[in-house]
């Protein structure tokens, strides 16, 4: 299961948005990865997500594998589209 999303937050995917994303991803049992053009990292690892240094308008793919992969992709992509509720 996967879906492409775009970051809308002005500060990009670091600090608070990254923390919110990691928290959300950690609530699922599926293995969840964030894929960019050149890297793929564990969405449950704050450090890995921050090392991507994704800026505003950057695109990435959410890839989930596991029992709750559908809900995981749906909820995480919704979170990104809602600017992480921030």
């Amino acid at each position: 299961m996967e879906k492409v999303v775009t970051i809308l937050n002005a500060e990009g995917l670091h600090a608070r948005p990254a923390a919110v994303l990691v928290k959300k991803a950690s609530s699922f049992s599926s293995d969840i990865q964030i894929k960019t053009s050149d890297k793929e990292v564990n969405a449950k690892s704050l450090m890995s997500v921050m090392t991507l240094g994704l800026k505003k308008d950057a695109q990435f793919t959410i890839v989930a594998k596991g029992d709750d992969e559908q809900t995981a992709v749906d909820e995480i992509s919704k979170l990104v589209e809602d600017k992480f509720g921030l």
Binding site: V22, N42, S45, L46, M47, M50, T51, G53
Partner: protein, 569 residues
């Protein structure tokens, strides 16, 4: 009971238990292990211990400091919970059969260095967090005791080989009653800071770290340099009486608050304070400082991985200037080098750092660096009276170059329509004998002089102020030094520039008549000395002080000067 004497660095009477400061963490070695499952179990335990540390720390910080500070440790917890490092560590332990500490240190520093290389300032700063969090795990693995100076439970005396300025700055004043060190002199930076922070200290004790164990009761006198380990009941009683007297004396000095700093015959001068960070403003207020005669900006630059941005510096300067509510603040531009180094500024190894690449010499080579600071200071000048002074000037050329760069910084701000005060005063520190000798010429280009007598003494007398074996030669009564200071004073008076002094001899009571007689307009010192200096000042007579200067100028030895000042008083 054991009695030793060191160099009195900061006054105060203290009775408390010893706490030894651990040397910085030693490196973790790579070892092979037999039972990787057992090693993984150890790792799991270390993680859970580190986690509970952080939870306690968050709670304590919330109580002692505030929400914002506590958030730092909450963020640390989040980093600790990160599955990536832990999973990688476990698989490496199993695959290579190596010890957990080594693996954690390796992987966490890999991550930290990725952050180190990022452009984004915020992310860059996370590298230090990662190192801090995972060194906590390694501490538990290696069963190293970790010390948190800011979160002490009981009153202690810190015992260390030496304290760095940043360690001194992080001391919790409520709980740390004083410190004792093996090395250092009266004017080493930790001693100077101890006086500003009003923490008692004795330095240069040679082997105090070996003579004392954690928890030993110690009594010491920061004014005489006396240190007593395991004092007898009698000594404790004696110290408690001294402690009471100290309190009474402090209370009587309080009566001088709000009084004028003037001689019996009405000659007024300004008694100002030396500060390093915004935390020192408290002490300025308590001790009724009339201005800031030296703001050491280097603390803003120390203890970090990157240089503070213009915005950050501007905020700090502005906060201080605003808090001074119209009192003048003389800001010294970056005085790094010598015994103060920055991680992000490579000075290289030097044979003689105090004669090397330091202060204005660095700034004139690194104009980019220098201009950021100048712009930040200029911008802050819109919020209160500021004087800007350049340290370590040794020639007219250096002064003119520094001034030209200041002009460039001004025009850059004008181009961007950013406001600054055109009343900002320009001055220089007289610290190098060559600058003192041509002070008549230099005076034509500045509004004020500030004599940095700690360095001026070391350069005029050719005495390393950090070297204990020549400490007695570091002598403020040396007539050669006093003549040099007098020359600067005469030139300042002749040219009508303001004359200030900010070294630690500014508050020496025996010398005060000379400073008054020479015509100093401002004496700046650790705030703790201001009220006592005011008391002495109010017993002096200007005319008599002037005569004492003429008399002193005829003398040839320190002893003669000392005796003369004693008799005339």
């Amino acid at each position: 009971m054991k009695k030793i004497t060191g160099i009195a660095a900061s006054k105060g009477i203290v009775i408390a238990k010893a706490l030894k400061l651990m040397p910085l963490n030693s490196a973790v070695l790579k070892c092979s292990i037999d039972d990787s499952e057992k090693e993984c179990k150890k790792l799991e335990l270390a993680f859970s211990k580190a986690k509970s540390d952080l939870q306690t720390l968050t709670q304590k910080t919330l109580e002692n400091c505030g929400k914002e500070e506590a958030a730092i440790f909450e963020a640390h917890e989040l980093l600790l919970d990160d599955p990536e490092i832990r999973q990688r560590a476990e698989s490496q332990i199993r695959a290579e059969k190596v010890n957990a500490s080594y693996v954690i240190e390796l992987i966490s520093s890999e991550f930290a260095s990725v952050f180190d290389q990022m452009d984004d300032e915020y992310l860059k700063a996370r590298a230090a967090d990662i190192r801090d969090v995972y060194s906590r795990v390694v501490d538990h693995l290696e069963q190293r005791v970790r010390q948190d100076l800011s979160l002490l439970n009981e009153e202690v005396i810190l015992i260390a080989h030496d304290l760095t300025p940043s360690q001194t700055a992080s001391i919790n004043k409520e709980k740390t009653k004083g410190f004792l060190t093996n090395i250092g002199g009266k004017t080493s930076h930790s001693a100077i800071m101890a006086r500003t922070m009003e923490i008692a200290a004795v330095v240069g004790l040679k082997s105090i770290t070996e003579s004392v164990e954690d928890g030993d009761l110690i009594a010491f006198n920061g004014e005489s340099g006396e240190v007593i380990i395991h004092p007898t009941d009698e000594v404790i009683k004696e110290y408690k009486i001294k402690l009471e007297n100290e309190k009474t004396e402090k209370q009587s000095l309080q009566l001088l608050k709000g009084q004028k700093s003037q001689t019996l015959d009405g000659h007024r001068i300004e008694l100002a304070g030396n500060i390093g960070t915004i935390a020192d403003l408290q002490s300025l207020k308590v001790n009724d400082a009339e201005a800031v005669g030296l703001y050491r900006t280097e603390f803003l630059f120390m203890d970090r991985k990157t240089m503070p941005t213009e915005e950050e510096q501007y905020q700090s300067y502005k906060d201080i200037v605003e808090a001074l509510e119209g009192k003048e603040c003389l800001i010294r531009t970056l005085d790094i080098g010598g015994d103060k180094r920055l991680d992000y500024l490579d000075i290289g190894d030097e044979e003689n750092p105090f004669l090397g690449f330091r202060a204005i010499r660095i700034c004139l080579k690194r104009i980019d660096f220098f201009k950021i600071q100048l712009r930040a200071i200029l911008r802050a000048s819109a919020y209160g009276p500021i004087g800007i002074m350049f340290p370590m000037i040794s020639s007219l050329r250096e002064l003119l170059e520094a001034k030209a760069i200041l002009e460039e910084a001004k025009s850059e701000l004008r181009a961007k329509e950013i406001k600054y005060s055109d009343k900002i005063k320009i001055g220089l520190m007289i610290e190098v004998p060559s600058a003192a000798l041509i002070s008549d010429v230099l005076a034509d280009h500045v509004d004020f002089f500030s004599l940095g007598t700690n360095d001026l003494t070391q350069y005029a007398l050719a005495v390393d102020r950090m070297n204990e074996s020549v400490e007695e030669l570091y002598d403020p009564f040396n007539p050669g030094l006093l003549r040099l200071i007098n020359l600067v004073a005469e030139n300042a008076k002749k040219k009508g520039v303001k004359l200030a002094m900010c070294g630690s001899i500014a508050h020496r009571h025996e010398l005060l008549p000379l400073w008054i007689g020479m015509g100093f307009d401002e004496l700046s010192m650790s705030p703790v000395h201001i009220l006592l200096t005011r008391q002495v000042l109010r017993s002096l007579n200007l005319q008599k002080c002037q005569q004492m200067v003429s008399g002193m100028l005829k003398l040839g030895s320190s002893k003669e000067v000392k005796d003369y000042l004693k008799i005339k008083k």
